[in-house]
């Protein structure tokens, strides 16, 4: 993703044009992420609503199911066992940035990223998240709102671009940064999955 946003900026020949373009691209990213996430939330809400009509609302069972999935993928993240990680093998098609203008391409590209489940995803927390959302069929608007936030946050990570100056670095700059923070990412992942596992316990206490 950071490659893409950097490439869109660096295609502009002059520094002045780049300075003009950066904020517009970033705004486009935020709008696209929000819309894409909300659209994906709408899709999940339809399925969740159908599940709700068929089996009713069982929030406790949903929390336990999500906790089990979180435990399974937590073990995977910790290196205890191997579990399939079904996901799209590709990110949003990069050709889009060549078809549209940089600002329009930003909106379209981020909308694709915001759709989350149709793209390649870094975190295994998406699997318990899917269970949780599918179990919220009683409140479809909440599903849309939560997914809109997920899309927005995903797109908002592009805001670090101007700070990291990734548009000025080599193509190896992004993989190097990812490697540098790999262990912190793993710890964060385990922490979030542990929180999902603990959720049913708090339910029993309240």
């Amino acid at each position: 993703m950071l490659h893409t946003i950097s490439l869109m900026v660096t295609r502009m020949p002059s520094p002045r044009e780049r300075e003009w373009l950066w904020p517009r691209i970033l705004t486009g990213f935020l709008v696209g992420g929000l819309v894409g996430g909300a659209a994906m939330g709408g899709l999940i809400a339809v399925v969740a609503r159908l599940i709700f009509y068929v089996v009713g609302a069982h929030p406790a069972a949903v929390a336990i199911a999500a906790a089990v999935v979180a435990a399974v993928y937590g073990g995977r993240a910790a290196g205890f066992w191997r579990v399939p990680k079904p996901q799209s093998p590709h990110q949003v098609p990069p050709a889009w940035r060549d078809i549209f203008s940089p600002v329009v391409a930003s909106v379209v590209y981020a909308a694709g990223l915001g759709a989350i489940y149709f793209t390649r995803i870094g975190s295994v927390a998406v699997y318990p998240l899917a269970i949780l959302l599918l179990g919220m069929g009683r409140a479809p608007i909440a599903i849309i709102e939560i997914m809109a936030v997920v899309g927005l946050v995903r797109a908002a990570t592009a805001l670090v671009g101007p700070y990291l100056h990734l548009d000025l670095g080599s193509r190896e700059a992004v993989p190097a940064m990812m490697e540098k923070y790999a262990s912190a990412l793993r710890r964060g992942e385990l922490l979030v999955l542990a929180a999902v596992i603990v959720a049913p316990v708090t339910m029993l206490l309240t």
């Binding site: 993703m1 520094p15 002045r16 780049r18 300075e19 950066w22 970033l26 705004t27 935020l30 929030p59 949903v62 929390a63 990110q91 990223l113 390649r120 995803i121 870094g122 975190s123 927390a125 998406v126 318990p128 998240l129 949780l132 959302l133 179990g135 919220m136 009683r138 409140a139 608007i141 909440a142 709102e145 939560i146 997914m147 809109a148 936030v149 997920v150 927005l152 946050v153 995903r154 908002a156 990570t157 805001l159 671009g161 101007p162 700070y163 548009d167 000025l168 992004v174 940064m177 990812m178 790999a182 964060g188 992942e189 979030v192 929180a195 999902v196 959720a199 049913p200 708090t202 309240t206």
Partner: protein, 68 residues
């Protein structure tokens, strides 16, 4: 002898500062929108489901920064 002038290859230093300020402003705007949406959804579902979904969802978004 004059000291060497350091120039940034991508633009002026003031432009760089302006861009960083714009990024912060956009981050604040995104934060306000995100928190508003989460607040709206908070009362619609049980708190433990909301907390687990919001936390894992926000993490999925943040972790994207480190994905290829």
């Amino acid at each position: 002898m004059e000291p060497p002038v350091i120039r940034r290859s991508h633009g002026s230093l003031s432009g760089d500062r302006r861009l960083k300020a714009q990024s912060i402003a956009l981050a604040i705007a995104a934060g306000v929108v995100g928190l508003t949406l989460l607040t709206l959804s908070y009362n619609q579902v049980p708190a433990y489901l909301f907390a687990a979904a919001a936390l894992s969802g926000v993490w999925v978004g943040i972790a994207s920064l480190f994905s290829p």
